[in-house]
Amino acid sequence: MIDKFVHSVADALEGIKDGATILVGGFGAVGQANHLIDGLIDRGLRDLTVVANNAGYGQIGLARLLQLRRVRKIICSFPRIAGSTSFEDLYRAGEIELEVVPQGTLAERLRAAGAGIPAFFTATAAGTDLAKGKETREINGRSYVLENALYGDVALVEAWRADRWGNLVYRESGRNFNPVMATAAALTIVQTQHLAELGEIDPETIVTPGIFVNRVVHIPYGDPML
């Protein structure tokens, strides 16, 4: 019997090593697997590369991981922590490396990784500072930048409901990067608010089919924190 459920956050994170590249879903305070991120802290992991849209929220989860100096490099579109200057402080002190990626390029680099596409051309960032040092090409009279796929060792995903095969649905704007990151990592770990029996989630509405998911842990914490 296939059963991707594990009993604890510690079990869910088993095997992750220092220096790993971790894809972290979420946008603002919504749809971020904070309990799994706290688990990275508890595991004592360091020297991580984190891929996320923002640099966390408040003093929890990703923001705390950064503040504890566990992250060597962050790849994101908008490296700010709402309600805190702790990212800017780390950055100014030279204690964290930053790769700023336009939000759509970030999503597409992850999608490409999940789809087996090593690189692609995009008009985004052509003719700007963010294209410096990158290969560019004119195609049909327009300028494009070559961007590489972005692979994760691990993806941390937050779902609304999950079954034991790892089929997932999300809640409202909590979906954001989660389904894309789920496809782009060697090990995809999910925290879910709710459990479903196999067959209970309407097949027409499953957003992430279980093939992309390795482990699921049930964490019914309620609504996103402010």
Binding site: G28, G31, L226
Partner: protein
């Protein structure tokens, strides 16, 4: 705010007035992404009964107005991380699909704020290149190259009176030659090969007065109002 000077008297549009002015020009049926700040307010001024579908980068079509304080849904935020609502017919999708809509030229319009716009349509709205500051771009570069039309809404000059409509941007570009129209607190201007063509000015303001507050080359609108 009433401006008085050597030439005459006029009233610049305030933020609400500017948002209302932009909203007038959005026809029924368009799919529209609104940037943070004044652009977000445009949604509040679309005339009743006109169906315009608003898009948010974080996976929403059919954004509705801000909820009442006791009706907040913590799972529903816009790209500016403000609580929003969903209208009937709205939908949710993931980030790669959201930016397929943006980068694949499916949006009819994007409305953004700006630090500077150049007369060739260059846009600078993501970085002031402050030394030591961490750069942050969000979805601005994707929206600038991807939407079918890009309108900018902003004050005509900076708070200390420096022009924002320039011959050439001084801040790092968001994208080259992407802006088609600019709504400022003083005028509506189209980007044309000769410079910014003045489509409309606030009442009481003359072309020469507007040019005096603009570094870029202005050209007079045509007899039909330039629309």
């Amino acid at each position: 705010m009433k401006s008085e000077n050597n030439f005459g008297k006029w009233t610049p549009l305030d933020r609400g007035g500017l948002a209302r002015r932009v909203a007038q020009d959005i026809p029924e049926g368009w799919y529209v992404n609104l940037g943070v700040g004044v652009p977000t307010q445009v949604a509040d001024h679309v005339p009743q009964g006109r169906e315009v579908v608003f898009h948010s980068e974080n996976g929403i079509l059919g954004l509705g107005p801000a909820p009442m304080a006791d009706k907040i849904d913590r799972w529903l935020v816009n790209a500016g991380k403000q609580y929003v609502t969903l209208v009937r017919g709205g939908s949710f999708f993931h980030h790669a699909d959201s930016f397929t809509m943006i980068r694949g030229r499916h949006l009819d319009l994007c409305v953004l704020g700006a630090f500077e716009v150049a007369q060739n349509g260059d846009l600078a709205n993501w970085s002031t290149a402050t030394p030591g500051a961490a750069p942050a771009v969000g979805g601005a570069m994707d929206l600038a190259v991807g939407a079918k039309r890009l309108w900018v809404v902003m004050d005509h000059t900076t708070k200390d009176g420096r022009p924002k409509l320039l011959r050439k941007c001084t801040y790092p570009l968001t994208a080259p030659a992407c802006v088609s129209r600019v709504y400022t607190s003083l005028a509506v201007l189209d980007v044309v090969p000769e410079g910014f063509r003045v489509v409309e000015m606030v009442p009481g303001l003359s072309f020469n007065e507007l040019q005096a507050r603009t570094e870029a080359q202005l050209v007079q609108g045509d007899a039909n109002g330039g629309k």
